[in-house]
Assembly symmetry: C2
Amino acid sequence: MEDKRLGRHILAEFYNCDSEILKDTEAIEKYMVEAAVRAKATVVKSVFHTFSPYGVSGVVVIQESHLSIHTWPEYGYAAIDLFTCGEEVDPWIAFEYLKEKLKAEKWEIMEVDRGIVEKIYKYSNKKYDNIVYKQKIL
Amino acid sequence: MEDKRLGRHILAEFYNCDSEILKDTEAIEKYMVEAAVRAKATVVKSVFHTFSPYGVSGVVVIQESHLSIHTWPEYGYAAIDLFTCGEEVDPWIAFEYLKEKLKAEKWEIMEVDRGIVEKIYKYSNKKYDNIVYKQKIL
């Protein structure tokens, strides 16, 4: 069966999170990696950075795209992106896990299809047999 | 002057790119870092990964959030995210530069505000004086 899109991308706005957690780079990295694992993604690499006076930025590169976070502890706010490919990985599991771990009291979400197959066909000047997301082997 | 939002996030779908470029991890990393520099972002770290048989995933963590790319050379397609904070950095410069370097013939874009100040106020149980994006010092 052909896929409709290569990837799913959840953009999440987390409000009223626990500010102490949003400052804690080690905890944030642990949660982001664990979120990837729970979503059944394969972690390739993670990069996290602490800002002064506070704030964390980090990305978990997964075989199926990436998860990223940027935190503003001073406003209790975090911007999270969960971009996954293939049907095996479920970004919503990562979303639920992170919402709980960061103790977000309010949130807003948007899900965006990435690499819509119909558009790849439409805009291409080549012919493709069957567009599917293939689990890439490292 | 108070900001309206902490960050701007461009989601770009690039179609009909040059497949050879989309396979070339070294070139892609160079272009992504250069895109960040041209947009006047401060590069913190970059992580790039080559997949087998081909395909590149990479993220440039910048002081003002991140730029990411995932390529499907077999379909001439790349998914690009340009997430920047503050008024000093212009993600559209990065967009134009990458469009040219990857030789994208078609593209679709969406710009999403992240960390909308009004919502941080609305959803918070705390009082904030003045919400602004502060250039963070490393």
